[in-house]
Symmetry: C2
Subunit: 236 residues, 2 copies
């Protein structure tokens, strides 16, 4: 049986709508938007929109200025660096623990997700690739049995996604990432916790480096070195 959807509240629906609009680039950083306009466009009243904006503000995705509308935050490279510093600390040990906790059925599912990701990756569809990547990672992290960790990592990912279309992977780098992931997958299947830990660290680190380089490349006068070096500040 399906777990019956208890009619998600309007506030929540609006939250996901707005988040999607930001990720898709429909709402862009820097611009101002009014809660009134959004509510009219969505056909709801101002209240749920206002509440949704407050929740998104808590996530750091938007800023609401008193009587001046809402602004989509320009996620800075510094923010991205912070996010990945944290992910680098949190995800590798979680991966190791996940390997220890995984059942055979879990391994099977992971294998499927991994396979799916490869297929999607070959199509070159950036958005779908990210989606598949997210699914794989979150399932793996879920095995570590720490719900708060899942929530935190999910939010951190959202923050990066909100940066915009940053994340469309390049062909060559995406090749590298696939390699990392194979390594990770191998360690998992061999039930090798510390191998998984290391592989995960490499993978997240490379993802971060790719992102930083991509952003710097498109933003003139930005030097990637200082950012790249800061990525590893929290791992010793």
């Amino acid at each position: 049986m399906q777990p019956i959807l208890p009619k998600e509240s309007l506030t929540d629906q609006v939250t996901t709508k707005i988040r999607a609009a930001i990720v898709s680039g429909e709402m862009t950083p820097g611009n101002h938007y009014s809660a009134i306009a959004i509510s009219e466009k969505l056909g709801v009243s101002r209240t749920p929109v206002r509440e949704a904006l407050q929740l998104l503000e808590k996530e750091g995705i938007v800023t609401v200025a008193k009587n001046r509308g809402v602004r989509v935050n320009q996620i800075s490279l510094d923010d991205i660096v912070e996010v990945f510093q944290l992910r680098l600390v949190v995800e590798p040990p979680a991966a190791a623990r996940a390997v220890l906790n995984a059942s055979e059925a879990d391994l099977e599912i992971l294998r499927e997700l991994h396979h799916e990701m490869i297929l999607v990756g070959q199509t070159g569809d950036g958005r779908a690739t990210l989606e598949a990547d997210k699914k794989f990672h979150l399932y793996l992290l879920g095995l570590a049995r720490n719900a708060k960790l899942d929530g935190i990592v999910g939010e951190l990912r959202n923050l990066v996604l909100a940066h915009g279309q940053v994340t469309i992977p390049q062909a060559r780098t995406s090749q590298d990432l696939a390699g990392d992931r194979d390594e990770l997958m191998n360690a998992i299947l061999k039930r090798d916790p510390s191998g998984a830990q290391i592989a995960m660290q490499n993978h997240v680190l490379r993802t971060a480096q790719m992102l930083v380089r991509a952003v710097c490349a498109r933003t003139p006068g930005l030097n990637d070195e200082q950012y790249l070096s800061r990525l590893e500040e929290l791992i010793f």
Copy 2:
């Protein structure tokens, strides 16, 4: 000059009020409360109360049930274990980085905060001790220059505080904790990053063990061993 307070919004004021009421034990887990009652007690309308409750729900502190009022969540031992698993992963490296980043002035401030904490600790005032502890930790973490990390750890701490009056330290254990902290402080003053990292890990771990034991001791039929062993699941 004082940075002028731009009139905190009612919603935010209510949020902190409710949070304080929970921490102080004025609002207890399990019981039901109505937004209407809260709004009347605080002399505001239902709207800011409702919005505050949504924010607190996102933090995991309360649950709002449709048409049935709001319930203060009973933070379980499992939750506490999760929180400390995360803190154990995140705070030690942050402490190490903090040592590397600290200026002489920072060290001076830390020394002061540390001293203050010892003084307050001797008075036996549990609440004040926690407050001083929080100040010290958050200042130290702030030196790692990762705002998101600060935010996350702050929220995790709040969650534990919301568990209730759990956290009134016992005389003997609080002695032990002071020892840990001295160790930590020494490593910081010697500008020894990995020493600080280890000391921080010991300190957080012992805090967690103390907490778990305290909760188990007062809850009949609860075995602390399984919880204690899970604390270290994420560190290898």
